[in-house]
């Protein structure tokens, strides 16, 4: 039975917002004195000043438990309270209410390179950064060589960090943090920086850290990273826990809730299109016909479009485009199999997206009815369907049994003929 490493009970964090100086986080003594003086002269003004303070709960009623060795993902929009939670767990700020019990040493990677001093050399910064992250001098000395080789900065060890490239500085910073060996590691969006090869290294490290029985809290926007690395995820919304469950489940609901959401079927209130053709509905489903919005990249995906042709004499056909997370059209496809002009009436067409083609992540579909030569767009609906593709690293995909980052907007499984 795994023991509980992090136990949060009803934590809340309240901030007081002052509207009078909304822009400034700190106050100037000059202004305070001026206000005091003004209030002295105009008593009633004080009433106004008081009412312009507003309480704001950045976090409210957050309770969860994380077991030893678990990798917990925390997702949420900007301002949902992710960073506040990270700050409370790493003791930077105190909660206003509630209590957290942490079993073991906590290290946080809130931002890479915290405490690095540009004037100091790489060697000096390793010691300094290690101390800031909570390592003792002897611990740092014992792991020094390991850190240096992980960061790949041996030749520059005695160069000032200000002469480092940003990639090198990030590598060094992560290397120090990665060798901290805390029982609990908090990672906040660090992976956004660094080149692809390094990201891969980092992910590998995080996974191995969790395999060693350490607990990882991973705070990120990237749904595909969360679904890959984390067993479990918590979605925060407006300072409250909106969802808590397996990473795939939470990611799916989160995407569904976030507007561009993942929806397996679409049916407009009235069919859309021009006088020649209209689309009635579209849906995504698995081979057995059940609607689904999360697919393993190792399974084929079926998209069925129901449309109606109102005018004869043209070769109108259903078409679709697949758009990935970054808005790139991965491919377009149309039912050119329809050679003849199609008869008037309702039709149903199913397109099969083969297994082992797409990369993981969030994808959406544009649905259309078109006729070519001359090209006419009868109906075109943007991003009516969406789905989440997950790579469960079962070993039969393009990435084999490799863990870590696997770049590319598609992930086809190709044949390799290896001559020995």
């Amino acid at each position: 039975m795994a023991s509980v490493h992090i136990k949060a009970e009803k934590i809340g964090k309240r901030y007081t917002l002052r509207h009078s100086d909304a822009g400034a986080r700190y106050t100037a003594l000059r202004d305070v004195l001026a206000t005091k003086l003004r209030n002295l002269l105009h008593r009633p003004l004080r009433q106004l000043q008081a009412s312009s303070e507003e309480e704001f709960w950045a976090l409210q009623d957050i309770s969860f438990e994380v077991n030893q060795g678990q990798v917990l993902g925390i997702i949420g929009r900007n301002g949902a309270g992710k960073s506040t939670l990270a700050k409370i767990l790493s003791r930077i700020t105190e909660p206003t209410s509630g209590r957290v019990t942490l079993h073991g040493r906590v290290a946080s990677l809130l931002e890479v390179g915290t405490g690095f001093h540009p004037e100091l050399t790489g060697r000096e910064n390793i010691y300094l950064n290690g101390a800031i992250l909570g390592m003792s001098r002897s611990e740092i000395r014992a792991k020094f060589d390991e850190i240096v080789s992980f960061a790949e900065v041996e030749p520059f060890l005695d160069t000032q960090v200000k002469h480092y490239s940003s990639g090198m500085a990030v590598r060094l910073a992560f290397a120090v943090a990665a060798h901290l060996q805390p029982e609990i590691l908090i990672v906040d969006e660090v992976l956004a920086v660094g080149d692809a090869a390094f990201q891969k290294k980092c992910l590998g490290k995080m996974e191995s850290v969790s395999k060693e029985g350490r607990t990882v809290l991973f705070i990120s926007h990237s749904m595909s990273l969360i679904t890959r690395i984390c067993d479990r995820a918590i979605a925060l919304e407006k300072g409250k826990i909106a969802n808590d469950g397996t990473a795939h489940e939470v990611a799916r609901t989160y995407l569904a809730a976030s507007g561009t959401g993942s929806s397996s079927s679409w049916r407009p209130s009235a069919p859309v299109g021009d006088s020649a053709a209209k689309v009635h509905s579209a849906r995504l489903h698995s081979p057995d016909g059940n609607c689904a919005s999360t697919f393993s990249i190792g399974c084929p995906i079926y998209c069925t479009v129901e449309y109606e042709l109102l005018a004869g004499g043209q070769r109108a056909m259903p078409a679709l485009q697949l758009v990935n997370e970054s808005g790139t059209v991965v491919f377009g496809s149309a039912a050119f199999q329809l050679r003849e002009t199609t008869r008037i009436g309702c039709h149903s067409a199913t397109c099969t997206i083969p297994a082992h083609l797409l990369a993981e992540g969030h994808h959406s579909l544009n649905i259309a009815v078109v006729s070519y030569n001359p090209n006419t767009l009868h109906a075109f609906e943007r991003e009516v369907l969406s789905m989440l593709l997950v790579d469960d690293t079962s070993g039969d995909g393009a990435r084999g049994d490799a863990t870590g980052h696997w770049p590319g907007i598609v992930r086809p499984k190709l044949d390799w003929a290896v001559a020995c």
Binding site: L29, V32, R91, T93, E94, P95, E111, E124, L128, A131
Partner: protein
């Protein structure tokens, strides 16, 4: 397995001193970093620590000792000034450096936990190193004037500690105020300038009329500077009620400095 760490409102407050002890190594590293950075461009860095007090001593000696011809007693006037100028510059350096320490390390404060008092304290330590280096001046002056101080010099470390404490108290106070009121740093040069005149740097405190002497001694630096001079063999001797008054004010300032700093500390990460 170590004991669990509990985070809740007001908790850090309760374990403050234990935490401070636990983070002593970080304190060492931060002080080491500041010293390293300060003297990174070695020649200029160390020269700076010597040059500033040296020039001040020179000017004060020429103006007050030679032009105004203030009485100096048995001590060479330059040593009289140096014995005051060094602790005085240590005090002002500590005040200036520590008041900037939190704002200058804002990225640390908003990202990592440690008792914040480490930062102004390490700034004071850096000033102490400056002080130690500039101490060479007074040694040179003693060689120059062929002057050997008496047994009183053995009490010097005690007055160095007193100087440290009297710098730490106001330092903490100003540091915390500087985070809250960012324009507070404009007041510091003013304090420093005014302080130079109400402290016996350019003159001996024996010129103060007897009836004002105790009131005058409530300035914590008066006790420190008079003590330094006494160690170097100033004939004025120690004015005991004044020294006790100075120490009392130092203790008071230290108490309020720590109290105010700790009260403000909880909010630093949110404000900075």
């Amino acid at each position: 397995m170590q004991e669990p760490l509990i985070i809740e409102a007001g908790r850090a407050e309760a374990h403050y001193w234990r935490d401070l002890w636990r983070y002593r190594e970080l304190f060492g590293f931060l002080a080491w970093r500041d010293i390293l950075v300060r003297y990174k461009q070695t020649a200029i860095g160390i020269a700076w620590a010597v040059l500033r007090p040296l020039l001040s001593i020179l000017i004060l000696t020429v103006v007050f000792g030679n032009v105004a011809k203030l009485p100096a007693g048995p001590l060479p006037y330059a040593i009289l000034v140096a014995a005051a100028m060094l602790p005085w510059q240590f005090f002002t350096n500590s005040l200036t450096e520590s008041s900037q320490s939190l704002v200058g390390n804002a990225n640390l404060i908003s990202k990592v936990y440690f008792p914040r008092m480490i930062l102004p304290a390490s700034a004071v330590v850096v000033s102490l190193v400056d002080f130690a280096i500039s101490f060479g001046i007074i040694v040179c002056l003693m060689f120059w004037y062929q002057y050997l101080p008496g047994w009183q010099i053995l009490a010097l470390p005690a007055f160095v500690v007193l100087a440290l404490l009297s710098a730490l108290g106001p330092g903490l106070l100003i540091t915390a105020l500087n985070v809250k009121y960012r324009d507070f740093r404009y007041i510091i040069p003013f304090i420093v300038q005014l302080g130079l005149f109400v402290s016996p740097v350019a003159y001996s405190s024996s010129v103060i009329p007897e009836k004002w002497r105790f009131l005058y001694s409530l300035n914590p630096m008066v006790g420190v500077i008079d003590g330094f001079r006494w160690c170097f063999g100033d004939a004025g001797g120690i004015y005991l009620p004044g020294l006790l008054g100075s120490m009392g004010v130092t203790a008071l300032l230290l108490y309020f400095g720590i109290r105010y700093f700790r009260r403000m500390e909880r909010g630093f990460a949110d404000v900075i």
